[in-house]
Symmetry: C2
Subunit: 417 residues, 2 copies
């Protein structure tokens, strides 16, 4: 689970061939892992992929046919850097009656939104607060800007805002604080209403930006979403995406930023990729604007994910009762589980992964999401239930149980850190 | 034609709200101009847009229908950061029998290829050589990396490689040299065969990278393309795009880089947008792989552009004989024209643009492409003929002639620089 950096090369000039941001980013640990997990005999709980069987294929086909029949020139031509006007309006309207299209910038997925926000707001050495554990893509985007990342622990209610307050009282001056506010990747946690209020107050008091990364919020099947951060403070920059609610292949996301910031994000975007695919934007617009079809699609998607979350937890209870400590998720795609204290107590999740792959099941060890010392999450596993049918979830749990129930191979506890 | 930077804002914290790259990039002068040129009564020779009537709409519709019928899960799911394998193979094969898919990274248009190459290769303060005049998007991407841009003049045969050699002899140590090797934007010039050989030798001797930006090469209707730079030296990084040969709306481009560099570009891309739209990549693959249909499409496109270039030149000769000095292009989308010495000798092209817009015609003044002092190109105009029918080209030339034939308003020559 060590990050691979670019391979050394036989380069002629005195400088190494790769400068710029490459050495700061490193490759994703998850990405390296998925190469192993992709073997056909392995059931992968490691992926972060939405369920392909849920993709609205017929709606995409209909939207494409209609788009090419009625407005092919717009669909296939260059477009404005900020995105097509109708989609910007739709994104703004969805965020609230007072928001305007000028605040919305359409991006090439919400990963680009992260990258643009980082490039727009951060100068080298600026402080960016991230949760620990954190979404790996956020760590990559923020590291690329040469910001100084400061991890603050999160728990089952999201970012420990009390610890952030302590750090601010001690003189920490972050430029931004990144959170995945609903159904966090990897923890599945939703930032509680109280903490949202407290975080918003801190943002106003200390003048930092809250980057509210929210690709999963629409996947809630239980409970009520707390007030969105953007309703609590204008110091919120919201990121959204069609990837988890429609399909990732369009690569259409967005950033909703106050009018003081959005134009600068557009300036950076223009240098970055001119604009996001107009074709994909027009399709996303049609799919998001057809509210009845979208709602039916989301209802079905939430039902599928709820069913699979329930099935995975039931299978774990059946095959490995008590071996993993977790909370049933209320939405999203992930189950964040800790190894019971007496379960393979000699081993880290990293070490168990090798055994698990041999047994035909994959997961992502918690260390992959570490924003601070990897040790903090070395006994955690991220299990994705989104794209597997019940039978596979059962078999995956059975294989995992085999690994978890083994007698320790070594009495001494090894740590990789 | 002054670059607009982000507007000042009412921000609470002591720091201005926008750090990062935004202040280094500025907005594109062309972009500001196009806002004016978009009025319906204005005939715009200012755009850089390909002809929308040429877009292969039926082929896109067929490819979409076939794709969604046969492989919807791949088309709409996340994909590899480097791009889908078949498209990478196709790009590599097109570049030569010895190239492999691992050297090709699919990008969100070639603008992103520029951005990724800049971020991968350049550290702040590194030297990047650009032609003067230069493609505005390249200037933006390179400036965002905080590189030091060194302009070297170009002429009707492209970059003055002799001047580059002088600068290298004087101690210039560029990290990369950017050229638009065929049918340059804005000059329309193609880097000559001799200069390509000389540039390749300099790259090997001094260890810089040649970034060969080539979106227009397939639009040649006269003469033969000189040997591609990548055939002359492994120190070439080639950028390509479907935008000018198929349609821009897909935002599918690529970078072809030696195996020592390509993986690092992929690492940067992962943090930037995870990957380019898989849907768009699958469509581009189908459109590019159907060689017979593509060739017929390109033949028709080249014929259209040749016809329009000829029509524009004929109209200028008809309505404003001798007023503009230019060379008939052998391909591409642009005519680069200099005001005759005795034509409105008191005025710069910037100044004439205001009059031209009043008269109902738009062009881009040369200063917009300046990589050095804007004064060098203050009497040049970039005229795009790609997207206008003959009648509009004739009317545009007539309106331009009205402006060019006016008596000077002021005897003194004003310079905006």
């Amino acid at each position: 689970m060590v990050k691979s950096t670019s391979a050394p090369t036989a380069d002629r000039p005195p400088r190494p061939p790769i400068g710029g941001g490459a050495h700061r980013i490193g490759s994703s640990a998850i990405r390296d892992l998925l190469a192993l997990a992709a073997q056909p005999e392995v059931i992968s709980l490691a992926g972060g992929l939405p369920d392909a069987a849920s993709f609205p294929v017929a709606a995409v086909a209909d939207a494409t046919a209609e788009l090419l029949a009625t407005d092919p020139a717009s669909a296939l031509q260059y477009g404005p850097t900020e995105g097509i006007e109708e989609l910007r309006s739709l994104v703004a309207a969805h965020a609230g009656a007072t928001r305007t299209a000028t605040e919305a910038i359409i991006t090439t997925g919400s990963q680009q939104a992260l990258d643009l926000v980082a490039r727009t707001l951060l100068d080298p050495g600026d402080v960016a607060v991230v949760t620990d554990p954190a979404y790996v893509g956020a760590l990559q985007a923020l590291r690329a800007s040469a910001a100084r990342l400061v991890p603050i622990a999160s728990d089952e209610h999201g970012l420990r805002v009390d610890l952030l307050a302590d750090a601010l009282a001690s003189g920490l001056r972050p430029r931004l604080v990144h959170v995945v506010s609903s159904f966090d990747n990897p923890t599945g946690a939703t930032l509680s209403g109280d903490r949202r209020v407290a975080l918003a107050e801190l943002a106003e008091e200390h003048g930092f930006w809250i980057v509210d990364d929210d690709p999963y919020g629409a996947l809630r099947w239980h409970g009520v979403e707390p007030e969105p951060l953007r309703s609590l403070t204008d110091r919120t920059i919201s990121l959204g995406s069609t990837s988890k609610v429609l399909c990732p292949g369009l690569r259409v996301g967005w950033v909703l930023a106050p009018a003081a910031v959005a134009p600068s994000i557009a300036v950076v975007k223009q240098a970055t990729d001119l604009h996001t695919s107009t074709f994909a934007q027009h399709l996303a617009l049609r799919l998001l604007a057809d509210r009845a079809t979208l709602d039916a699609h989301l209802d079905a998607l939430r039902a599928t994910y709820r069913q699979r979350a329930t099935a995975l937890i039931a299978a774990l209870d059946r095959h490995a009762p008590g071996a993993l400590v977790h909370r049933p998720p209320s939405g999203g795609m992930f189950l964040w589980a800790r190894l019971g204290d007496d379960v393979r107590s000699e081993a880290t999740a990293d070490q168990l992964l090798a055994e698990a792959l041999d047994t035909g099941v994959a997961f992502v060890p918690g260390s992959a999401f570490a924003a601070g010392p990897a040790r903090r999450h070395e006994r955690h596993l991220r299990l994705s239930f989104a794209s597997l049918p019940d039978a596979d979830l059962d078999l995956a749990a059975r294989r995992l149980a085999t690994v978890l129930s083994r007698r320790p191979r070594h009495r001494a506890r090894h740590r990789t850190a």
